[in-house]
């Protein structure tokens, strides 16, 4: 069997690299992580003609091989290390026909590494509209490569690209720009000191602080007969290299690329006139946010109600269908309600990812960065913090990783520290059920749903809290840093349905399975803890109830009382009772206490836990919400979930740092336990105080 061809897909951000990847691999793709770090690793298998196959690795988008972020490091380390199992047989550089000049910079760098390199010129369908004509043949000759004109949107050129991949051995590996011309002496000395290495690789190792094989920067600098240069001199040389490369590219494009300006119809400037307007820009941005939250609340309520009642029915059905016993109880009272607690949020999470993905694909997100930079800077953040803060509404983990393109360390650190305040999708389950219980389902002003407005307020509270704590941190933290803010403003594009669809499915899947595993495990443990007890009272529950009430109870009432006596005396009941003094001032009983403790690792467990606790010993087919509404407060009387305790719970979950995974990611991204520890202590403290104040004032 012929070996698979290893293909690395490389390109600037916003060139449609992901669309090309999706076309090559279809659904034959998987998203994982690079070992040891959290950069997303996307790979897939592509079926080529004549029974051949290619392994496609979609590398993170980068503007050049001069790494300034972790994502970019990945690209360089792979391309420098011939022993890596993913080391490409052929590199495919994806470029956008309208930004060819800038995109070719990366191309020339890759080419100079001596890897056969194919150039994909994407968005070829826009050429006519933009008045662009290309002399592809001449360009191939000048760049010593093969070019595929592709339109990911119109699905053209993909087959040609596949042919080029098969025939990659015919592509010249000659460099197109001679980097050594920027400092001939220096490169001469490099060549003499390390005769067996590629010159351009050596140059990258010296300037980048990355390793390849056994060669790293230190070993280069400490080689006796080789004198390197000062950092500032190297930096100047790097600038010179960039200029030399651009000179070459300008020369090539002058001969091969024509743009008839008169033919260009500029959608960009017309849209930007409104979308980045000093007033309308903000109005539109706010409107879009409002639309998203209304959609999440209103549209997803239908599938959610369906899922809720389906799981209630399923639990009941299993109980009837399976022979009664411990195992049946575990399934119907432990696993099914636990799973129901997570499946129910699929509609909302999918909606959220859908919107975020649409905003990013269309190019609008960059405009938001532009609009918000100045405002955010006042709080020690950057315009680029908006993307993490908005993604934080889906999940804090990708949001913390999305801070990597913030150049300034202080701005980046503050963003990381405050991101967990934004309302992530794991809080949604908690918010939704409590809002449904304590906020009336009415409309104000005819259009706004009161529950939807409450949810929006909670989102605003999350944003407000992150911005406020950023402001505080900006005053406290003494970190000096001086960096620059640069962001590309890509062209507006109609989002590709396929890209958005794949993104939504992938993200939702990883959320459900990632969280699902924890929730399933915790719901089993909880069920065991709730079904057994250490004391005599637990075993004698029937007797106790009989003694207390005699023969006055119907058999159903009798069963319910037995169940509640059992729950109180079970292991979990005792644990809950143990922490009750701490949570009582917040308006909670011991059952909520248990739910808070068990959701320490992950917030969304809260609802699953309550579902499990309340379904133990219950015979009727009821939804979680009905059961919670029926609970009464043992001390104050009245429903347990009333306005005061509801708001207190909402505030507690808005502020508390209840997510192990986020703490782990923050540790990894900041490389210190100091910052996650600070987050945990500060956020939990704020949560407790806010919940306490709310309950005491409102009760």
């Amino acid at each position: 069997m012929p070996k698979q061809i290893n293909v690395a897909l490389i390109g600037n951000p916003n060139t449609g690299k992901t669309s090309v990847f999706n076309h090559l691999t279809g659904l034959n793709q998987q998203v994982g992580n690079y070992p040891g770090i959290t950069v997303e690793k996307k790979e897939g298998i592509c079926k080529l003609p004549r029974g051949l196959k290619a392994h496609i690795l979609d590398l993170p988008g980068t503007y050049s091989l001069n790494a300034s972020s972790l994502d970019e490091n990945i690209v360089i380390e792979l391309l420098l290390n011939k022993n890596d199992k993913d080391y490409p047989d052929v590199a495919v550089v994806v470029s956008d026909v309208e930004n060819l000049k800038r995109n070719l910079l990366l191309f020339t760098q890759i080419k100079d590494l001596g890897i056969p390199t194919i150039l994909v010129i994407n968005m070829a369908d826009r050429m006519e509209r933009k008045g662009i004509s290309l002399d592809v043949e001449l360009m191939e000759k000048r760049l010593q490569t093969k070019i595929a004109l592709v339109s990911a949107r119109k699905k053209t050129g993909i087959e040609e690209l596949k042919e080029l991949i098969i025939n990659h051995r015919q592509i010249s590996t000659e460099p197109c720009v001679n980097a050594s011309s920027i400092a001939p002496d220096y490169f001469d000395r490099l060549r003499k000191a390390f005769p067996n290495q590629s010159l351009y690789k050596l140059w990258l190792v010296i300037t980048q602080d990355v390793n390849f094989g056994n060669l790293n920067r230190n070993s280069l600098e400490n080689t006796p007969d080789f004198q390197t240069k000062k950092k500032s001199d190297l930096k100047r040389l790097q600038q010179k290299e960039t200029i030399v490369r651009y000179q070459f590219i300008n020369g090539v494009l002058k001969e091969t690329f024509k743009k008839d300006v008169a033919a260009a119809k500029d959608l960009r400037s017309r849209l930007d006139r409104i979308l980045t307007h000093q007033v309308w820009g903000y109005v539109i941005f706010f409107g879009i946010l409002l639309l998203i939250f209304q959609a999440i609340y209103d549209w997803s309520s239908y599938p959610m109600d369906l899922i809720d009642s389906t799981f209630a029915f399923l639990g009941e059905w299993t109980k009837d269908a399976l022979p009664s016993g411990v195992f049946t109880n575990l399934i119907s009272e432990g696993i099914i309600p636990g799973l129901g607690g997570i499946v129910i949020f699929i509609p909302q999470i999918a909606f959220l990812f859908l919107f975020i993905s649409l905003l990013e694909e269309s190019g609008y997100m960059s405009r938001v960065v532009f609009l918000m930079d100045r405002v955010m800077r006042r709080f020690g953040l950057s315009g680029k913090s908006v993307v993490p803060l908005v993604s934080g509404t889906a999940c804090a983990i990708p949001a913390v990783m999305a801070t990597r393109n913030i150049e300034d360390w202080k701005e980046r650190l503050i963003t990381i520290l405050v991101v967990p305040f934004t309302t992530c999708s794991a809080r949604l389950p908690v918010y939704l059920i409590i809002i449904a219980l304590v906020i009336p389902n009415e409309r104000v002003l005819g259009i706004f749903n009161l529950q939807g407005l409450t949810l929006m307020l909670l989102y605003l509270l999350g944003f407000g809290m992150s911005v406020f704590s950023a402001w505080v941190l900006n005053k406290i933290l003494k970190i000096k840093s001086k960096t620059y803010f640069v962001i590309e403003m890509p062209d507006y594009k109609l989002p590709l349905f396929k890209n958005v669809g794949i993104n939504v499915v992938e993200k939702t899947k990883s959320f459900v399975f990632g969280a699902g595993k924890i929730i399933l495990a915790i719901s089993i443990i909880l069920w065991v803890l709730a079904s057994y007890g250490p004391t005599d009272e637990f075993d004698r529950a029937e007797e106790i109830v009989s003694e207390q009430y005699g023969e006055t109870l119907s058999s159903e009432e009798f069963e319910n009382h037995v169940a509640s006596v059992k729950l109180e005396n079970s292991y979990i009941g005792m644990m809950g009772k143990g922490i009750e003094p701490i949570v009582r001032p917040l308006g909670y009983d011991w059952k909520i206490g248990i739910a808070i403790v068990s959701s320490f690792a992950a917030r969304e467990v809260f609802v699953g836990t309550l579902a499990t606790i309340y379904s133990v010993g219950s015979d009727e087919e009821k939804t979680i919400k009905d059961r919670m509404a029926a609970e009464t407060n043992p001390i104050l009387g009245g429903p347990l979930f009333n306005f005061a305790s509801g708001i207190s719970l909402l505030l507690f979950y808005a502020f508390a740092m209840q997510c192990m995974s986020t703490l782990a990611i923050v540790k990894r991204e900041t490389n210190s336990w100091k910052w996650p520890a600070l987050q945990l202590v500060a956020m939990s403290g704020i949560a407790y105080v806010a919940a306490l104040a709310a309950f005491q004032l409102l009760k």
Binding site: N66, S366, F370, T483, Y484, M489
Partner: protein
């Protein structure tokens, strides 16, 4: 006073002459902000910061503090 990108009016164009600071970020050069290139101020956010530029067909936004470091000659 030297003219910099920060002194451009909306819609005005200039040619980049040089950088008044040695430590100009490489990323800016990589994105096409090079001496000799034409630059146009497309749009500004409130308080003229950040500034949305079109540099030889490459669209990017930079902060005013960075714009002040890039010297230009106004052409139209």
């Amino acid at each position: 006073m030297k003219l910099t990108i920060a002194s451009l009016k909306k819609g005005q164009k200039g040619i980049i002459k040089q950088f008044s600071h040695d430590d100009i970020p490489l990323k800016l050069l990589e994105m096409g902000c090079l001496p000799g290139n034409k630059v146009e101020l497309v749009q500004t956010a409130p308080f003229r910061d950040p500034m949305y530029l079109n540099i030889n067909g490459s669209h990017l936004a930079i902060r005013k503090e960075t714009a002040l470091l890039i010297e230009i000659e106004v052409v139209e």
